[in-house]
Amino acid sequence: MTSTVTKSATREAYGQVLVELGREDPNIVVLGGDLNKSTGTWAFAQQFPERFFDLGAAEQNIMGIAAGLASAGKTVFASTFAVFGTGRPYDQIRLSIAQPGLNVKIVVTHAGIITGEDGMSAQSIEDIALMCALPTFTVVVPADAPETAAAVREAARTQGPWYIRLGRPATPVVHQDGYRFHLGRAEQLKGGSDVTVIACGVMVSAALEAAEVLEGQGVRCRVLNMATLKPTDEEAIIRAAKETGALVTAEEHYIHGGLNSIVCQAVGRLCPVPVEPVALTRYAESGDPSGLLRKYGLTAEDVVAAVRRALSRRG
């Protein structure tokens, strides 16, 4: 079913665009933590060795140094795996970067359970909650490689702290190359008036697949790509709630503090309608990415089932 879908790794798109940005803007500095051959920052390190610093496995130090560079006027990209770039140096991010609102872009890879065989210690399922809890941070979860490239470019030309969440494996591509990223705006990928699925990251392609299945069953399903979680496009959420009357959220993250929480917060305040979550409810384990998505309920079929629940609750 998915065999015809083009796949591409978001971290590779990141590595490529970082080199382009390095060429265009001498002010860009990149920091890594002994994972540069995995995060995509290695190409930048090779081409711009004077603007690249590997701090080793010392993430707290990375964030502190990023803050210092940014305060001296640099645009800093700091990259490691999602777990090591959020929870580990959280207080350093909070105090040194978030509170002064410095121009540091924390771009992490290997997020979510699709990081796979390394197991739960490596599977970041809490990072969106952590980063959304920092008031000054912009939080972006690109759906695919083209959106990653566009979002990273947008980050480079926008002041302030950003968090961009990328994955390890190649994942389905839903956008064309040259796609334009609109910060803070949900992207409608498919129209529909019966129900809306709001998704981010790898779940966007699952949502589109689910919408196609539902279409065949006579359910007109709107699909929104909520790549920017913060600042939140509440207008698009409320419009969907008003026009379709039932929502499903789909994210590869723990159910607390991520997309579902964000959507519920908006509709609870402005337009209460049923909201059914597709999200993780516990820590996962080692395994292959697609097996994990199945076992932990993050497939297109799970989205379809959630849509059915949302529709029956709406009545």
Partner: protein
């Protein structure tokens, strides 16, 4: 399918394939340590070879994992599990057991190979490494019998070991705590916070072994982050420090024995090792930090090991 092999707790049985290893062969009682005392150095070398085989076979079956830092630590674990530590595979939570904490959790395959060989679980389970529904997670997790600490985020094991060592003191228990750290792992600030506190509390029931294989994830430690003078750093933090050839079981045993005699301070053993030890194309090769051997590479590796 390439089978795992059972070295035998005493290394006395001829190596057998995993499928033919019966529970009676693998189970080891509290008397294990006593029996292990009879193990000659020759036998331990054979055990080490078989463990290397099982590390490679399990990682190859998984299709991913960390061979380099698993292979470099084999002799350290052999010395501890077969000669030094009091432990009971039939009772993994035995309160008096000596503790082994794998801080560099990505080297789980070496720990799994040892635990299986000692009888904590059947060796054929090694072939489930990293697969869905397996008890053998990609990074060490306490769901595996015999694993003390869930790890995977570097730098946390020494603090954990200090907690266990302090508990031994509070409870008046005689067990000792052994923590295995990577050298790249010593980049983490928490390692040095822990080092300072272990000396402050005079934890002479605590031993840290640093697997000094000189390579971390991407590159050599000297390229990523200079650690030298490493022994002097540990000394400056108040530890008793020994440097040994980390592939000489005899030298490791001597250092561990010496550590038992140190009073009033924790001991650090810097084990000078070769990352990927035992397989020519993995030795000293950063590429095999976190990459599984292909089928052909596995064949060649097993041929070199001769097991």
């Amino acid at each position: 399918m390439t089978n795992v092999k059972h070295a035998g707790a005493g290394g006395k049985q001829p190596a057998t394939t995993a499928a033919s290893a019966t529970p009676a062969e693998v189970s080891v009682s509290p008397g294990h340590a006593r029996r292990a005392e009879e193990l000659a150095e020759r036998d331990l070398k054979q055990v080490a070879r078989t463990l290397r085989r099982n590390i490679l076979v399990s990682i190859a079956a998984a299709g991913s994992g960390h061979p380099g830092g698993s292979l470099s630590a084999v002799e350290t674990l052999v010395a501890l599990y077969y000669k030094v530590m009091r432990h009971d595979p039939s009772n993994p939570r035995w309160p008096e057991r000596d503790r082994f904490v794998l801080s560099k959790g990505h080297a789980a395959p070496v720990l799994y190979a040892v635990l299986a060989d000692c009888g904590y679980f059947p060796p054929q389970e090694l072939l489930t490494l990293r697969k869905l529904d397996s008890r053998l997670q990609g990074h060490a997790h306490i769901m595996t019998p015999g694993v003390e600490m869930s790890a995977g985020s570097l730098g946390q094991g020494l603090s954990f070991g200090i907690g266990q060592a302090l508990a031994a003191r509070i409870d008046g228990r005689a067990y000792r705590v052994y923590v295995l750290l990577g050298d790249g792992e010593c980049d983490e600030g928490q390692v040095w916070e822990a080092a300072m506190s272990a000396a402050h509390y005079r934890l002479d029931n605590l031993v840290a072994v640093v697997d000094r294989n000189r390579i971390q994830n991407d590159r050599f430690t000297s390229e990523v982050m200079e650690l030298e003078p490493l022994a002097e750093k540990w000394r400056a933090f108040g530890w008793s420090v020994e440097e040994v050839d980390g592939h000489s079981i005899r030298d490791i045993l001597l250092a561990l024995k010496q550590a038992q005699g140190v009073k009033g301070k924790p001991s650090c053993i810097i084990a000078h090792t070769v990352k990927g030890k035992g397989v020519s194309f993995m030795e000293n090769n950063p590429a095999f930090h976190g990459k599984a051997p292909t089928r052909e590479e596995l064949r060649q590796a097993l041929e070199e090991l001769g097991v």
